[in-house]
Every structure is written in structure tokens, then in C-alpha cells.
């Protein structure tokens, strides 16, 4: 067992890659490929459960660390680690993995082994991105991720798939190039590619601004932050369902994760300088995304724009620079992963049956497909942040954290504007729901559409259960990330930074036992 548990992060990351390789080489029958991919994804989920149950929530530093010198006398290392923030995102990824594969059972009939191989390859790259603590390693995972997604959109996508795939590719590449320059600059300063060595580099004010801008651009494109979002609706509309689900549920979170892990702790001056502007972009994204979503004639495009709005909330929470807002942002990432993932799955269900996603083609579907309508309704409510479901907790923490922020300029005004997103969210979602499901069944083509199959229910039900579970028991996530959020935010207030040297325990920003940290300020300066 210890062969696995001592290198658990490697196993979790590379098991899907191994599966992918086998799909290219050995498992070549369509039906075998499906089962095989599902088994691999399930096995990966089971492996990741080990992380969940053995994670020590009281610590804010990395756990399950694996560090092996790799290149240039260890200046570059194979360094994997996992804190609470990585943990919850990894769990989201491995949880959705098998469900996504199961959802493609009937939808993908062309070059099945290749498709499954790309999906597993993508999963491996995403997991590696969340674990990597060496910047080169991170950059490799980050870039490699593009390839399977590019092919998933470009080969199994809709009519304009090439345009969308290339757009997706080039957008992300452009941002990454700037980040690469930043990484190289830091490498020459630190003499290593290790994140924790980067954290100890004393950077000048000006350098911090430039570096922050370079990193932020790369991450902002991925999120996407307004006005860098126009690749997203195209990518979503053209991508096959499975691609859209992974894209919305996990891939977009890479951008947020990158900000949180790298751009924010590394460049506190950059954060302070740019936070007001970024929060304005975030608020614009919330309102603009919602308004544009409202007028979309295509359901999938509507959901895509709703992501721009939701992710605007997350960015606002991050740059409120309060533990509450940041934790709310992380929570929303999970909640959005579930609700938007489920929305894309549901849109896929109807697309498989009718080969259209135009709202005007539907109406009265609740008559023909009551179970589908019920799942869609629950997911709609999760998406609009109904209290008692996961989305509400995240939104509430973000808005409350931003409202109480003492660092962010015009925090109260920002909160007021952002809160209008709560109203707009209800408008675009419920209006869409009404036009698709209510009214008379006018369109003859919709008569006799089969309701959800057992397989489709099996895909959706676990997600729906977690929408409720996390809404009632948010501690499931919050307890895991609380200490890590404090650690990540510590450098922003001149607090101690984290090192990966076991001898430096004193420098860890761990919560003092028995005392609750204030949620609106990064560190309680009175207690220092």
C-alpha cells in the first residue's frame, strides 16, 4: 500500500495519463474504451478519496509532498504538494471525471478510444496543475492542458469547431507567453524554479507591478475576466457536451487558482495596485455577463455567458482581499462547477434528442420530459443561488466579505453593484426555463421526446445531491480551506510566508488554536 500512499499525488495525477496511453495503444474497441475509461476515472476518484480523508485541515501548508531533484542540480524539481485549496479543486475534478465519461456513452460514437484518451489526458494535466509547486512543472501541465481540449473541440465539436478551437488555443497561448517571461525573470532572481524560493525573493515595487500584470493576464484570460471573455462562448457552443462540462467546471477555475496560488502571494504590491481596477472589471463582468446571457437565443451560449457573470463574483471575492471573500470565491468555484457542469450536461441531453439548442425551438417540454424538467429546475435554482443550496453559500460569503473589506477601494459600492447580479441571475435563468419548459407543447418535433434514461439520471443525481449537501453543510469545504486561505493571504499584509523547509515551521501562518480569525482582515495586527 505504501507504494501508493507515499506517492499518492503522483498516482492521482498519472493514473489517468496511463489510462490515456493504453487507450491509444491497446484498448481500441469502442465499447471497451468506454468501460475502460470509466474504470480508470473511477479508480482515480477512489485514489483521491485517500487525500480527502487523510488531509489535516488544521494545517495551511502543503501535505503529501513529493520532491525529487530533476534538472540543473535541483534548480528544477519534480515538486508536488497539496493544500486545502488544491484539495477541493482536485476533488471536484476527480468527482466529475467518471460522470463526464458516462455522459458521453451515446453522444460520442466517432473515434471513441481517442476521445476517451483525450479526456483522461486532460484530467491528468488538470490535476498536475493543481499539485505542481515547481513553476516549470506547473507551466508544462498548464500548457499541455490545451492540447487535449483543443482536439476535443476541434475534432468532436460543432460546425465552427476549427474557428473556436483555434481561438481558444491562441487566446490562452498569448496569455501564457507573458507568464512564461515572468517565470523566467523570477527564475533568474531566485536561482530555482521552486514556488517557495520565488516567495522569498525580495522584488522591487515596479518589478512587482509588471510581474503581476504578466501573470494576471494569463490567468484572467482563462477565467475569463471581462473583456477577455469572447473566446468562451465560442468554445462552449462548439465543444461537445463533455468538453463544455470540463471547460466550465474545472478549466476556468485554473485561472482563479493561478491568481490565488501565484499572482497574489508573489506580488503583494501588484495586488494592492491593481485590485481596485480588477474589482471594477469583476463587477462589470457580473452585470454584463448576466445582461448578455439574458438575450441569448441559444441555451448553451446563455449558460456560457452566465459563467462570465459567476466567475466575476469569484474574482471580486478574491480581490476583496478578505479571508471571507477568498474562501467564498473558492466555495463558489466548487458550487459553480457543480451547477454549471450540470447545466451543460442537461443542455447536452436535449441536444442529443433534438440537435438544436435554440430556445425558440422549445416550449412546453415539461409535459414530455417531467424528470428532465425537474433536474433542470433544481439545477437552475442552484445556479441562481437559492439559499439551502451550494451556490448561495459562496455568493453570500463573497458579497459579505467584499462589503466588509477594509482594503478594497469603494468596497461597499462594489458590493451593491455586484448584488444586482443576484436579481439578474434569476431573470435570465427563470426566463429561459419558462420558454423551454412551460407553455403549450407547440413544436411538433418535441412530441414524444424520451425522458431521462437511467444512465442520464446516474450522471446527474450525484451532482444534484452535492448541490444540496454543500448548501446545508458548507463546512465540508470551508473547514478544508480555512487554514490554507490564511496562508495564501499572509504575504499580502507583510505576514510570514510559507516555506517548504520543514525547519521553518515557525514561519507558518497557522491559526492559533482556540482562537477564531477575523474574517474581514488578512491578519489580526493587534495580536502580533
Amino acid at each position: 500500500m505504501s507504494l501508493i500512499t507515499d506517492h499518492i499525488l503522483t498516482w492521482v495525477t498519472f493514473l489517468p495519463l496511463l489510462g490515456s496511453v493504453l487507450l491509444w495503444t491497446i484498448v481500441r474497441r469502442d465499447s471497451h474504451a468506454r468501460i475502460f475509461a470509466l474504470v480508470v476515472a473511477l479508480a482515480d476518484f477512489v485514489l483521491s478519496l485517500h487525500l480527502w480523508f487523510h488531509f489535516d485541515s488544521s494545517r495551511g501548508d502543503d501535505q503529501f509532498v513529493e520532491k525529487v531533484a530533476w534538472l540543473f542540480n535541483g534548480q528544477i524539481s519534480y515538486h508536488m504538494g497539496m493544500d486545502g485549496i488544491s484539495l477541493v479543486l482536485v476533488m471536484l475534478t476527480t468527482f466529475l471525471g467518471p460522470l463526464v465519461i458516462l455522459s458521453t456513452w451515446k453522444a460520442i460514437t466517432d473515434r471513441v478510444p481517442e476521445f476517451m484518451a483525450f479526456l483522461l489526458f486532460l484530467q491528468a494535466a488538470m490535476l498536475g496543475t493543481f499539485f505542481a509547486r515547481d513553476m516549470l512543472l506547473f507551466y508544462v501541465f498548464w500548457e499541455v492542458m490545451l492540447i487535449p481540449m483543443y482536439f476535443i473541440i476541434g475534432m468532436w465539436g460543432g460546425q465552427r469547431r476549427i474557428y473556436a478551437a483555434v481561438k481558444f488555443f491562441i487566446f490562452t497561448m498569448v496569455g501564457s507567453v507573458f507568464m512564461l517571461v515572468g517565470i523566467l525573470y523570477l527564475y533568474f532572481q531566485a536561482g530555482s524554479m521552486n514556488l517557495f524560493d520565488f516567495l522569498e525573493v525580495a522584488l522591487g515595487h515596479e518589478a512587482q507591478l509588471w510581474l503581476f500584470a504578466a501573470f494576471f493576464l494569463a490567468f484572467a484570460i482563462k477565467v475569463p475576466v471581462f473583456p477577455l471573455h469572447t473566446w468562451l462562448p465560442d468554445a462552449h457552443v462548439e465543444a461537445p457536451t463533455a468538453g463544455s462540462v470540463v471547460l466550465a467546471a474545472v478549466l476556468l477555475k485554473m485561472g482563479i487558482y493561478g491568481m490565488l496560488r501565484f499572482a497574489m502571494p508573489l506580488f503583494p504590491d501588484g495586488v494592492a495596485f491593481f485590485a481596485p481596477a480588477i474589482s471594477i472589471l469583476a463587477v462589470i463582468g457580473i452585470i454584463y455577463g448576466a445582461l448578455v446571457a439574458m438575450v441569448q437565443p441559444d441555451v448553451k451560449k446563455l449558460v456560457a455567458y452566465s459563467s462570465v457573470s459567476h466567475l466575476g463574483f469569484v474574482v471580486l471575492g478574491l480581490f476583496s482581499l478578505t479571508p471571507l471573500g477568498v474562501a467564498g470565491g473558492i466555495f463558489t468555484m466548487i458550487a459553480h462547477g457543480l451547477s454549471t457542469g450540470a447545466l451543460f450536461l442537461l443542455v447536452g441531453v436535449i441536444y442529443e434528442r433534438r440537435h438544436t439548442r435554440q430556445i425558440s425551438e422549445f416550449g412546453g417540454l415539461a409535459h414530455e420530459m417531467p424528470v428532465f424538467a425537474t433536474f433542470f429546475m433544481i439545477t437552475t435554482l442552484a445556479s441562481v443561488g437559492l439559499p439551502g443550496m451550494a451556490g448561495f453559500i459562496g455568493e453570500f460569503m463573497i458579497l459579505f466579505g467584499t462589503f466588509g473589506s477594509e482594503t478594497l477601494a469603494h468596497a461597499k459600492l462594489m458590493t451593491i453593484l455586484a448584488t444586482t447580479g443576484v436579481v439578474l441571475g434569476a431573470i435570465y435563468m427563470l426566463w429561459m426555463y419558462q420558454r423551454v419548459f412551460f407553455g403549450k407543447l407547440a413544436n411538433e418535433k418535441n412530441k414524444g421526446l424520451p425522458d431521462l434514461s437511467l444512465r442520464e439520471i446516474a450522471v446527474l443525481l450525484p451532482i444534484v445531491i452535492f448541490m444540496f449537501w454543500l448548501g446545508v453543510r458548507p463546512g465540508l469545504i470551508l473547514d478544508k480551506v480555512e487554514a490554507s486561505v490564511a496562508t495564501v493571504l499572509a504575504p499580502l499584509n507583510g505576514g510570514p510566508i510559507l516555506t517548504d523547509d520543514p525547519g521553518h515551521h515557525a514561519l507558518r501562518a497557522e491559526p492559533e488554536p482556540g482562537q477564531d480569525h477575523p474574517v474581514f482582515i488578512v491578519r489580526d495586527t493587534e495580536n502580533q
Binding site: L324, M397, Q434, P518
Partner: protein
Amino acid sequence: MESHATESLLRWIVLVPLLAAAVGGLLNRRLPKQVAGLLACGAVGVSFALSVTVFLRLTRMPAAERFVSDTMGTWIGFGNLQIDLGFTMDPLSGVMALVVTGVGFLIHIYSLGYMAHDEGFGRFFAYMNLFIFAMMTLVLGENMLMLFVGWEGVGLCSYLLIAFWFNDEANAAAGKKAFIVNRIGDFGFLLGIFLIGTTLLPHLAEGEGLFSFRTLQHHAGIMAPVATAICLLLFLGATGKSAQIPLYIWLPDAMAGPTPVSALIHAATMVTAGVYMVARMNFLFVLSPTAMGVVAAVGVVTAIFAATIALTQNDIKKVLAYSTVSQLGYMMLACGVGAFGIAIFHVMTHAFFKALLFLGSGSVIHAMSNEKDMRVMGGLKKKLPITFWTFLIGTLALAGIFPFAGFFSKDEILWKTFSSELGGVLPWALGFLAAGLTAFYMMRLVVLTFFGENRASAEVKSHIHESPATMTMPLVILAVLSLVGGWIGWPHFMGGGAWFEQWLAPVFSSGHGAAAHGAAVHGAAAGEAVHDTMMEWILAGASLAWGLIGLGVGYFVYMKKISIATSLRNLGGGVPYKILLNKYYVDEAYEGTFIRPGYLLSKNVLWKIVDAGLIDGLLVNGSALVVAITGSVLRLFQNGMVRFYAWSFTIGVTVFVLYLSFSG
């Protein structure tokens, strides 16, 4: 914090209807109708019985200590933010619990008959039980966020039940409108919560639950400097839920739902949630005379505004809907003048007689083969005797005729408005005027529906019949309550003990302590008015006489001299009538100022010009084009060469990494 009794029964008051909703909803059509109906009614019955049990326990406690709680652990715990998942019952929530589960139970029974032939029977009862769950969470929630869970939950059930017959898209639109208008209110409510939280959090001791009502009350003084802002934000939420100006517009449309829903949700319980919330937060509202003034003004203006619209409506349910808006205005008026106890008293009596009136109208609609237009009704007195007599009792109660329930609560509101420092002669006069209009439009409704000749088609006429016992029995019980239900508030000047107000006094008197902190509203907090017995008698007499006059005039005009109605309609060239009939064109104004321009702006400017044109067209594809001219990206686009590049990238990276690995 002082220790208090725990009562683990509390959670089951809330959870039993939830479980029943889940079972009923999941099994839905697989459940025979009898079983589904029994399950749903049984769940609410259990909830009612448990509420009574806990309520009786409260009565046995000393007045100042009437408080039980049931905590199910932490809901949101992060840093020093601590929000519990818990329920409490004090005299105020106790009364609300009894009203909600009691009236709710009767309406569930009634629905057995009313919905008997509906194919969505199981779904209907699942939603109804879900509603009881949400409403009880709202009422019994231990803190503001739990209240908000219930608050949005009842909004959801309202949405689902208004759109219950979704075949007709108008119903679906009405449901959506209700949800969205309520969300506009919630926008304010949320900001109010944030302002409370940020103000209070730094002052809390270890383990004190933020947003817990006990904590808020205990630290009300800290919030005094921002009390006006907090209260106005919260009140925006209340105007949404309790259908006050400017957010009342959803309630009349909500009548698209099945009539038991109109009775339960849109008359007796959910719409009073705003009033309940203001009363619950009384310790903050009394800190801000400005906020109290706004509450009172909005309340009284809504009361008279909606009453004028009710004068002209032809749909029997629309008349009752505007009447509800108007009566909710009275409740807000009571809160605004500091008479929170009386406001809750009116919540209760109104729940009795308005539920009765709606269920009665349901019985009429049932008999008339789903006809709602009063112009084709008439003469139903003989054919629907139980419905008629119970309806008449409800009408007398609503018109405020002694000794029916509405007399006691409405008269007290008018008296407190007249005598309180926060009230005055003008708000009293407006309230008084509205009371007369109420009596008039109710008599118009009764005459048009029950008196004279039946104006329906022969086909419809032949089907007219009294409703089954499951429907008439709740009518009779509610009629009894509409008669005697007000007597527990028999006022002092008439030799009573105003027991209802006394029961609630511990909840509202604590406002004094907070008021001393903020030194805001003197004495008005507990509705301590100048005791002028003589004046009270005079006003009560006047208001009774005024109600009788309203009824009399209504009867005379519509029964004896219909020509008066016709000439009233043609008054001023028919313009005033047309304005009232079209509800002052408020919906059209919102449509023209917000909805339509918002849609067009989003579609034509934001999406087509900004997003597709400016950002994507000019910036993104424009820069791609520039690159294409200098380089050859565009050619690569078209040849599918990017695929080749991606492969090169993959292979390149792999080779690079392998090379470095083995050479390093």
C-alpha cells in the same frame, strides 16, 4: 448569553413537512391520490400538533423567559463568523407557527376536494408541503440567514405554485414575475444583512452567533448609528414579500395559481412574512424614526392605493388580491407607528378571514365551472348556502364590523395610528377612508356574486352545486375563527384584557432597552399610546359606522340602483374609472421604463455592438487580422495547420523534457 430551555420537538415542526414533500415529490404519480393526500395533510397536521405542544409549553413559562430553542449545529462556520442551523420559538414565532400550520392544515384539507380531479395532484401537495417547510423555517429560524432560507424558499414555492398550470404561458410568466420582483426586494434584504454583519462582527464575544436574533437584540445599541440604513434596506425586502409599494405588482398576477394557493400563500401566510420580519426586527426599527416613518407612510399609502383599484376589478380573485395588498398596508402602518403587537394581531385575524374569503371564492369558481368574472355570476346565495353564509361572515370581518375578528385588529391599528407619536391625524384619516372603501368593494363583490339573477350561460348554470364536505368544512371552521378570533384582543376600553398584545409584549418591550441606547423613539416602541378612553370610544364608533355605511352604500348601489354605478363609471369622461380599472398603469410604466429598455439595451447594444462588434470583432479578430497580414496565421486557420502545430508543440515539449531529464 443566558441559558434557555431546549426543545428538540421544534426541528420536527419544520422537518416533517419537508420529508413528506420529498416522499410525495419523488413518488409523485406512483402514489395513489388518497395516499398522497393523506400524507400531505397528515404532515401538516403533525406539524400543527407539535406547534401546539411547544406553544403550550411556552404558556407555562414565566412571561419574560418564554423562549425555547433547538440547535442542530453549525451551518456556516469560518473564522469568527458563526452561523447556526437552529430553530427557536418565542411568543411571536409561536403565534405565527400556530397560524401557519393551523390555517395551512385547513387549506390542505380543502385542497383535497378542490384538486381532486387535477392530474398534478401529487405534485401540488408536494409543493404545498414544501411551502409549509419553508414558511416554518422563516418563522422559527434562529437567525437572519435561516429566516432568509425560508424567505427565498417560500418565494420558490410561490413561483412553482403560481406556475402550477404551466400549460398556459401566462401562468408561468406570473410565477416568474413573482420570483423576480421578490428578488429585487431580496437585493435590499441581503445588503441589510451585510450591513448588520459588518457593524456587529467586531463586537461579538467568542461563540456568539452573528445574525442570531438574540445576539442582534442584545447588541442593538451598537447598530444605532446605521439603524436607518439597515432598516430601510430590510424594508425593501419586506415590500417585495408583503406586496407593498413599489413592489406589490406581482401579487395580483399571482392569482393565476390554484385558489387554495392564493388562500394559503398569497393571503394568509407568505405575504405576511415582511410584516413578521419587521416585527421581528422591532428593536432596530425603533432606533430609527426615519425608517418608522417610511414604513408607516408606505403602509398607509399602499392601503388606500390598493383599495381604490379593488373598487373596479371584475375578477373575483383580483378584488381579493388588491384587498390583500391593502390589508398588508394596514399591517405595515401598524408597525410604522410602533404597534408591532397589533400588526401581528391583524396578521392573525386577516389570515382567518382572508383565507376564508379566498376559499369561498374557490368554492364559487368551482361551482361556476372555473369562471372568475363576477359579471357573469350572481344569484348563488340559494345554490351555495354554506359558501354564501361563510363568505358573508368573512366579508363582515374584513369590513371591520363588530364583533367580527377584523373589527378588533383594524380598529386597534387605526387607534394606534391616531394616538401614537409616530402616527397622526393624516395617516389615520387615510386609513379610515380606506376602511370605508374596503366595506364598499366587498359588498359590491358579494352582491355581484351571490345576489340577483345568475347571468351565466345555461350550460354553466346546470352545473352549479355546493362544494363537497372537504371544502365546506374548512369554510365553516374559518368562519367561526373569523367571528371569535378577534376576541382574544378585546381592548381595555371595552372592558377586555387585550390578551393578545400582552402575550407578545415581552418580544416588543425589549425595544425600550435598545431605544435607551440610541435614544430614538420614546415610548412608542410598545405602542404605548395616550390612554384616552373617551376618544377611543368615539373613533371605534365612527369606524364601525363608517364600515356599515360602506356596506350599505355598496348594497344600495349594486342591488337597488345600478345606474349610480354606471354614472360613477362615466364620471369625468370615464377617465378615472379607466385609470383604476387598469391599475394606474403601473405595470405598463415599469415595462416601458425598465424591462423593455433593459432588454433592448442588452440585446442591441451590449451583445451585438459591444460584445460581438467591439470586443470580439474589432479587438480580437482585428488583432488576429493584423497578425495575419504581416504573418500567415490566417492561412494556418484555413488549412487546419494549427492541428499540425499543436502536435509539434506536444512532441517538442516531450522531446525537450526527455532530453533534459536524461542529460541533466
